[in-house]
Amino acid sequence: MNKKPHADHIYIEALLKNDSRVLSKLYEKFSHKIVSYVRNNNGNADDAQDIIQETLVIIYHQAKEKNFILTCPFDAYFYLLCKRRWLNELKKRGTNRVTILEDEASIKDEHEQQVEETELFEQQNQLFESKFKELGAKCQELLKATFKIKSMEEVAEFLGVTYGYARKKKSQCMGKLTQLVKNSNEFQQLKDF
């Protein structure tokens, strides 16, 4: 697929580079609308700040891992993501009977697609992370080491085991994790596989 980045892709790059200059522009331009939305829907400015930050962190990870390219205006994409995240949060808090103020902006298909891409990425991430935490402490430690340190030789040395053992252990732990993911309810709902 040949995707042409939108001019607003600068915001994605700013996240990757932790460029506070451009990111402050992002906050200046886009946060106000989200704060108003959250405020009008049973939340306060602190909630809005969290929603914005968590959304940006997910976009950061998606860009790092999947080379995410933004092909639509950032405004609509970001607003919809934050909005949906806030609605989810309300659900989690068990706030019933919320009056959701729907706004006039209709979202184009292309935006929707990008939003879904990011949401799917996050759901998968959350699933993997929660299953990772179900592994035994030994497995977690070993896997963390293998992903942080590139060479298996160094991992073995770091953990004080032989290279052969570390390797075998790694596939074992990853196998266990694969099983956990495969047998989870959430996995059935992820359409990516």
């Binding site: 001019a7 996240l15 932790n18 506070s20 200059r21 451009v22 990111l23 402050s24 522009k25 992002l26 906050y27 200046e28 331009k29 946060s31 106000h32 704060v35 400015a45 602190d46 809005a48 700040q49 914005i52 930050q53 940006l56 962190v57 950061y60 990870h61 790092k64 891992e65 998968q124 991430n125 993997f128 992370e129 990772f132 896997l143 963390k144 992903f147 942080k148 390797r167 075998k168 790694k170 596939s171 074992q172 990853m174 196998g175 994790l177 694969t178 993911v181 495969k182 990516d192 596989f193």
Partner: protein
Amino acid sequence: MEELRYIEFESYLKNELTEMEKTAFEEKLQSDADFKQEFEIYKALETSLSSKFKNEEGEKELRKTLTNLGNQFIKEEKVIKKKSKIISLFNYKKLMVAASIALLIGFFIFKNGNPVYSDFANHTNLEFTVRGDNNQTITKAATAFNTKNYKTAFAQLTVLEAEFPNDIELQLYKGICLLEMDKFTQAETIFDKISTGNSAFSTKATWYKALSYLKQEQFEACKNTLKTIPESAEEYKLAIKLLRKL
């Protein structure tokens, strides 16, 4: 059995299989749906976790920046709302609404006259909280600027410039001070430099260049400068308003 499968996955991903083993592996991917599904999960886990752990530090750093910005742009809005009617950078939209109302009134009153600089020179307040530390000079500069004491503000900003030589926002505010003091040539030099760069402040600088022409009543030059402001810029609406009056 199972364990061998995962060792095989690992070797395949690390590209350690012989040609023959590789072909056999790929054939199995085609024919065995369960094998394929597990492999896909294994592979996705590998990429996801490896990316996550590798970028742990990066995420931490990013979060620091975002927390600062959030405090600056979101919390501050809360404080300002409670305390006073200061128009912060954040309330830019409101400022534009206010500016358009002011313009509208201006339009009725001075229907036949040319637009006046002071109708358009609504500077957003100077707020340098992004630089973090409680720098005295920063506070002095901001207070002076926000109370329209441009001479003092200019002096303080010049001191600050030595500390943050690459800060474009600071340059822009220096330019505004100069403009307010009618030092047009110096002001325009600064605006020109910023507007030809690719910082976030380039169109704002163009807008101020136009205001500088307006203040000198060089209406043609003002028009031509305004026309270079792109539709996507924040200053576009203001530019159109001013253009209509010229």
